[in-house]
Symmetry: C2
Subunit: 189 residues, 2 copies
C-alpha cells in the first residue's frame, strides 16, 4: 500500500470542504488551512487571481497546495465584475449590478470557478469551469451574494431561489475539482 499524497486546500467554506473530501478523499490525504493571508491581485480574470494566490501559498507552505476562487462575468458589462466580486458586494451590491443592466437586452453572464494547484514544480496549474446563465431583473431569494441575481441556463429562478442543493448538482466548482482530480491522477504524483 502506497502512502497517499497530502494536498492542502486553502478554504474555510464548509460545503467546499465536504465536496473536496468526497471528490478527492479516496486518492489523497486532504488537509485544510485558512490563515495564509494571501494577496489578491487587481485583475478581472479569476484564473489570474488564483494563479498568483496559489504560487504565494506554495511559497508559504512548501507542500502541494490548492486555492479556489470564483467570479461573475457579465457579457454586456465587458466581463465586469470578474474576479472583483468581493468589492462589488461591499459597495454597489447586487442592486448595483441590476441597475447597470437596466434597459440592457443582453443579460448573459458566466459564473466562473477556478482552482489553482501548485507543488514543488512551482508552476501553478489552473482549472477553470463556467456556468452559463443570465442576470435577473432584480435580486431574488435569500442567499450568498451573486446567487441572488444569477439564473442558470434552463432555469427561471435565481440560484438563491433554487437553493444550494440543486446548485451543487452541476456546480462549476465541482467540475473544476473533478478536472483537477483527473489531472493529478494522470500525472501520477
Amino acid at each position: 500500500m502506497t502512502e497517499k499524497m497530502t494536498i492542502t486546500f486553502v478554504t474555510k467554506n464548509k460545503e467546499k470542504k465536504s465536496d473536496i473530501k468526497k471528490m478527492l478523499g479516496d486518492k489523497f490525504d486532504i488537509q485544510f488551512t485558512s490563515d495564509l493571508d494571501l494577496t489578491e491581485i487587481q485583475s478581472l480574470s479569476v484564473a489570474e487571481v488564483v494563479a498568483f494566490k496559489v504560487k504565494q501559498a506554495y511559497e508559504k507552505v512548501g507542500t502541494p497546495i490548492a486555492v479556489s476562487d470564483s467570479g461573475l462575468e457579465i457579457e454586456s458589462l465587458k466581463n465586469f465584475p470578474g474576479a472583483l466580486v468581493k468589492f462589488v458586494n461591499e459597495t454597489i451590491g447586487q442592486e448595483g449590478i441590476t441597475k447597470l443592466l437596466k434597459n440592457v437586452e443582453n443579460r448573459n453572464a458566466h459564473f466562473i470557478a477556478a482552482i489553482g494547484y501548485c507543488d514543488h514544480e512551482k508552476n501553478p496549474i489552473i482549472f477553470v469551469e463556467r456556468d452559463k446563465g443570465t442576470i435577473s431583473m432584480e435580486p431574488r431569494g435569500d442567499g450568498w451574494h451573486f446567487d441572488r441575481i444569477f439564473i442558470p441556463k434552463g432555469e427561471k429562478r435565481t440560484w438563491a431561489e433554487i437553493g444550494r442543493e440543486r446548485k451543487n448538482i452541476d456546480s462549476a466548482f465541482r467540475r473544476a475539482l473533478e478536472k483537477m482530480s483527473h489531472w493529478l491522477v494522470e500525472k501520477g504524483t
Copy 2:
C-alpha cells in the same frame, strides 16, 4: 556642496514627471522608470495599493523610490470604485458610474491621489491628498476617464471641461508631492 540624494519615480506620465521635477528637482536628483511590472492588490484603498507597490518597487530597485496612484471614492456607492478605477474604465466606464447614481441624491465624491515612498528603512510612507467634488449627471468634456464625471467643489464644470491647466492648480497629486518633499527635507536624508 553635498551630493543630492537620488529618488526614482515610477511613472511614464509626462505631466507628473514635469510636476515632480519642478517640485523636487532643486533638492533631489530625480530619475524616472516605468517598467517595474508591479503587482496591484485588490483593495478599494488607494493608500493600500500604493503601499504594496512601493515596497515591491524598492525590493526590485534597492534605492529610494516613489510610486503614485489615484482613485475615486463615491460616498453613496460606499467608496466604489476606489482604487479599482482602471477596471471600471475597462468595463462599465463613466457611463456605468452615472447610471449607478441615477436618482441618487448624494453625488459627493473624492478624488484621491497617493504617493508612496520607500527606502532602505523598508517602511513605506504614504502621502494621501483628496479633492472634494461631485459626480456629474452624464460624462462631459474630452479628457482622461474620471475627468469626464468629476466636478471639483465650487465648480459647475467637470475637470475635462475645465481643462488640464486649471486642474493642476490645486491638484491632489501636487499637494501629495509637496507633503512628501517637506517630509524628506525634514527627515534630512
